[in-house]
């Protein structure tokens, strides 16, 4: 018997089409491809290999039966701002010029998608293939008005840019934030992307970012996800790095009902380097799923991944790390490590390294470990008068440090550390 095809995608399209604005920056060809893809492939469920542990079709059926798109306006984000950063604010998928700081830095150009000229518009969708994934297609079909952020050649930004994605609704809602970030030749920037969900309704955020790291450029990127119990999200980062370029990302996920991260990095020229680090804590029935792809296309590149999870109650963590070394990518160095602590008997971690290597002179390795809290260390701490709860906190904190210490923006690091300690 052939299973009946899910009509979730069609339902979503029907529900949000009426309130979605037709945008001028997605061309008709892309739009029809996206809709066709959604119609044919649908929203993935757990029969889909890439979404085996993350049945999003099921999530939509259970949690988003009545998408009404009663979106709230947001008027004040002062409490979320970092002191020493430029803030850009995106509300329910749309860039808000009025809430954002004025960008008056040399070499920094911000343009709303709708104001891009014809050539610049071509960047949108040039890395994210609408026919590769349902969420790229969904975002393309219903994209919010995002922005193109460009750091000009040779410019080194001295202060971080903090992009705050706020979602807020009074009903079930779906929002599609999107951006393009481009670092020119020899440019350097630190970009913090923070996702929060306020308001009383459940919001599904389908985020998509395309990032271009130019020749000899360096992008240090932080993703901080703290969406609480109403926040569901799929976050796709499509990154490409040019010669001698460097891309570093550290993703910290402290809360969210469902968080799926698709972090795809193309090392598309010689001598480039990428680092992905992740820390996630899950509790109750949460699911955090980190899918990474390091696509080594050219020789002499290096990639490194470190993901750590602390999983408790009945929650689930997933790490799926794919390293693809194409036949031209000789002298590749690629490392991957996934370490997890399960704090309860009902907690689950699914961790899967996936190495596909077609070149013969490469160094690739992966390691994974999952365990409970180290009772020998707990006893040592107890024997010095430290109670069980404090001992646990000290040890989990130590476990997380390896990732948190990668954050070089002190203000962000302190903020995350504080919130992390409260989560324990």
């Amino acid at each position: 018997m052939i299973a009946e095809k899910s009509n979730t995608a069609q339902l979503i399209i029907d529900k949000i089409s009426s309130s979605a604005e037709k945008v001028n920056f997605i061309d008709n060809d892309q739009l029809s491809k996206a809709l066709l893809y959604l119609e044919n492939k649908g929203i993935p469920n757990n029969k889909h290999e890439d979404y085996k542990y993350c049945n999003i079709d099921g999530i939509f059926k259970k949690e988003f039966k009545n998408i009404e798109q009663k979106l709230n306006s947001v008027t004040d984000v002062a409490q979320y701002k970092l002191k020493d950063a430029l803030t850009l604010v995106v509300v329910n998928g749309n860039y808000s010029e009025s809430l954002s700081d004025k960008l008056i830095l040399n070499g920094l150009h911000l343009t709303a998608f709708s104001n891009l000229d014809k050539d610049e518009k071509k960047l949108i969708g040039s890395l994210a293939n609408v026919e590769s994934d349902a969420f790229i297609a969904l975002n393309t079909a219903f994209s919010g008005t995002g922005f193109h952020l460009k750091i000009a050649d040779n410019e080194q930004l001295q202060i971080p840019i903090h992009i705050l994605y706020v979602s807020s609704a009074n009903s079930e809602a779906l929002v599609n934030p999107r951006n393009v970030i481009e670092l020119g030749k020899n440019a350097e920037a630190t970009i913090i992307e923070e996702q929060i969900c306020i308001g009383t309704g459940k919001v599904f955020t389908n985020f998509l970012s395309e990032k271009f790291v130019g020749e000899n450029a360096k992008l240090t990127s932080y993703t901080f996800q703290n969406e609480g119990k109403n926040g569901f999200s799929v976050n796709t980062n499509q990154v490409t790095i040019s010669r001698y370029g460097k891309y570093d990302n550290t993703t910290v996920t402290l809360s969210g009902a469902l968080v799926r991260n698709n972090h795809n990095v193309v090392l598309g020229a010689q001598n480039c380097e990428a680092h992905l680090n992740g820390l996630f804590t899950t509790k109750n029935n949460q699911l955090v799923d980190n899918h990474t792809l390091m696509d080594h296309q050219m020789p002499n590149c290096e990639s490194n991944e470190l993901y750590k999870g602390i999983i408790t109650d009945k929650s689930t963590g997933v790490f799926n790390g794919k390293i693809y070394v194409r036949k031209d990518a000789q002298k590749t160095n690629a490392y991957q490590s996934s370490k997890n602590i399960l704090l309860s008997d009902d907690a689950t971690i699914n961790t899967k390294p996936q190495l596909e290597i077609y070149a013969d002179d490469v160094k690739c390795s992966h390691g994974t470990s999952t365990g409970k809290i180290d009772e020998v260390a707990v006893f040592y701490l107890n024997a010095r008068g430290i109670g069980r709860e404090s001992a646990k906190k000290l040890l989990l904190n130590a476990f997380a440090q390896e990732v948190i210490n990668k954050i070089e923006v002190d203000e962000l690091k302190d903020k995350i550390l504080n919130l992390f300690e409260n989560e324990l």
Partner: protein, 253 residues
């Protein structure tokens, strides 16, 4: 200070302590010696509250409280200290943060306020001098990458910081060269007072040249089979444990 009465303890089905009796008063230093497998480290672990061991009989009264009823952390807060034979490495937890947490949890247990940061740092400085511990080590993760000697000195440093009433040193001398041994002993002697007591568990007389015990006990097969003054250790060093073993075996028959 502490009274141990007919203490029996097992791990799994195996009984290791088979009726220990020992009384230690404030101001005393007791040495416990004995061959491998006699139960020395088990005694130390049981006193400190390691949960792998099951106490099947007996009682331990520590400063008027039933020690065996207390969780490991409360035993430490009551003033019991175990210097581990194998100190544990805890990557990511700095020595300083570890000691600050320990000290303040002990203070909180006694209804005292947290120690001001300035006083705490002064105390660290003073005590690390005592065991000649490099200041850099105190900022590193607990025992991580320390040499054997550094780990043992770190135990004595922690002891100095926490100022316990009763300290049990479990083979602190094992793996130490003569200089490290002297440093450890100097630390213990400097901390010794009329108000506290020490139990020194060791295989060798050597340590007892530096830390002179008031009493020496020989533990064999889970029981204290002989007790005496410091000369007992010298006698053991000369004759070995064979005589004790023979005596015991003839008793068994």
């Amino acid at each position: 200070m502490i009274t141990i009465k007919n203490l029996h303890a097992s791990i799994g089905d195996k009984e290791i302590l088979k009726g220990i009796n020992l009384e230690i008063k404030a101001g005393e230093i007791h040495a416990i010696m004995g061959p491998n497998g006699s139960g020395k480290s088990t005694l130390a672990s049981v006193l400190a509250g390691r949960e792998d061991y099951e106490v099947t009989q007996g009682e331990v009264i520590f400063n008027g409280k039933n020690l065996l009823d207390l969780a490991a952390e409360d035993r430490a807060r009551e003033g019991l200290f175990l210097a581990f034979q194998y100190p544990v490495e805890i990557p990511g937890v700095s020595n300083i943060n570890f000691l600050k947490t320990a000290l303040n949890e002990i203070r909180a247990y006694h209804g005292q306020e947290e120690m001001p940061a300035k006083d705490f740092l002064a105390l660290v400085k003073e005590k690390q001098k005592l065991v000649e511990l490099d200041g850099k080590l105190t900022n590193r993760s607990v025992n991580e990458g320390f040499s054997g000697g550094e780990k043992k000195r770190n135990e004595i440093f922690q002891m100095a910081m926490l100022n316990p009433k009763l300290a049990v040193l479990d083979e602190t001398d094992s793996g130490l060269d003569i200089d490290a041994l002297r440093i450890v002993a100097t630390g213990v002697n400097a901390l010794k007072s009329k108000e506290n007591a020490f139990v020194v568990i060791t295989h060798y007389q050597r340590l007892l040249d530096y830390i002179v015990p008031d009493f020496v006990h020989i533990l064999y097969n889970g029981q204290i089979v002989r007790s005496g003054g410091k000369e007992l250790a010298l006698e053991l060093e000369a004759k070995g444990y064979d005589e004790i073993k023979k005596q015991f075996e003839s008793l068994e028959k």
